[in-house]
Symmetry: C2
Subunit: 216 residues, 2 copies
């Protein structure tokens, strides 16, 4: 099963490509923005595709040709302004969804934000709200896209080493979660068809990732 990882050069993306390459049943195709980012993934034995997420749908669809699933884990990053949030977190995500459809790829895993509900938008600070809005519409677009989607809503991301244990459900208490464990959740979701059509919040916890993903 070949997985196109959009946002492969991000912090979750790098863990994810590494875990995919370690898996027996999966192989990764890393979508990256610049050629000079390729060596990291080539060293893992992964295929790469250099595509700018701010480009058109067709160029993303070309990268998605022949893969079995697409993972969207790109993010504009907290240090950029609302303009990049709009272009990457919203429009980049939607273009990737449309590209998957165009390439005939049915399976789609979205790395979202912890809470992208209407309530979260209304309660967000004025500086954070545009990001929540962008992720909200990306998630909504995916849910209406007639794809086999899984939406993962991770808690506060840390660079701590993964514990391999999480709590996952439609609603969980806000807590931290290591990026490494989020990458493991994505792999477990790709390996479990039962997660199609589902979304869940994910924080660090006491259940083995595989079991937590199975029980969502």
């Amino acid at each position: 099963m070949k997985i196109l990882v959009v946002g492969a050069n991000g912090q979750i993306g790098k863990h994810l490509v590494s875990f995919i390459q370690d898996s027996d049943s999966l192989e990764a195709k890393a979508m990256i923005r610049k050629q000079e980012q390729a060596s990291f993934f080539e060293n893992l034995g992964a295929e790469t595709a250099v595509v700018d997420l701010e480009g058109d749908i067709e160029s993303i669809a070309k990268a998605a040709e022949g893969v079995d699933a697409v993972v969207f884990t790109a993010g504009s990053g907290g240090h950029t302004g609302a303009d990049k949030t709009v272009m990457v977190d919203l429009d980049g995500a939607v273009k990737t969804i449309e590209a998957a459809k165009l390439a005939g790829v049915k399976r789609f895993v979205m790395v979202s934000s912890f809470d992208t509900t209407r309530k979260a938008i209304q309660e967000a600070s004025s500086s954070f709200a545009p990001y929540v809005v962008a992720k909200h519409y990306a998630d909504e677009w995916l849910k209406r896209a007639d794809l086999e989607y899984t939406i993962i809503h991770p808690g506060l991301l840390t660079n701590d080493k993964g514990t391999g244990q999480i709590t996952a459900a439609a609603e969980v208490g806000r807590n931290e979660v290591p990026r490494e464990d989020v990458a493991s959740v994505i792999v477990a979701s790709l390996e479990n068809e039962k997660t199609a059509g589902k979304e869940s919040q994910v924080v660090t916890g006491t259940t083995l990732i595989k079991d937590a993903v199975q029980s969502v």
Copy 2:
């Protein structure tokens, strides 16, 4: 026929409420952000509702209760950043659409931007693109909302006096159009059920507004 004008205190909005109040068949309810904006509309004999477009859907729906149509002509304005573009032009528009549905109002007229297509997003400058994206998703949301929508895509807005004559079609050459004429186009659209389910670009031209709207 009572019309809720969202963004009434904007430049198009003020012309629009004035024209609605001059019409025999229409009456306006001006949705404004601050109480001190009310006197302009009260002097026109129009009802007012003080609602912040950054508030929740329910408060907008309350303003929409009992009206026959909603016009969205609010805009963050060119001088604000992408954060306000997200919150007003995208999320404010979508909340107004959801509010119309909640209040059982079927008719919805959207004042959009001249070109909100995918092509326009890809060709826009990096500073303008977030605005095009915001208007694109607002339009898309409306088209999928099961409302009797009309989307007006005006050309470059000016404060020139209206000529009463326009060119309107799915695609027209880019040109200027006085805000006063856009307000007249909105009134003509509200008065012509044939415009439901349609969108058109509108620039200054040589056809009487009523005739141009009828032929779209």
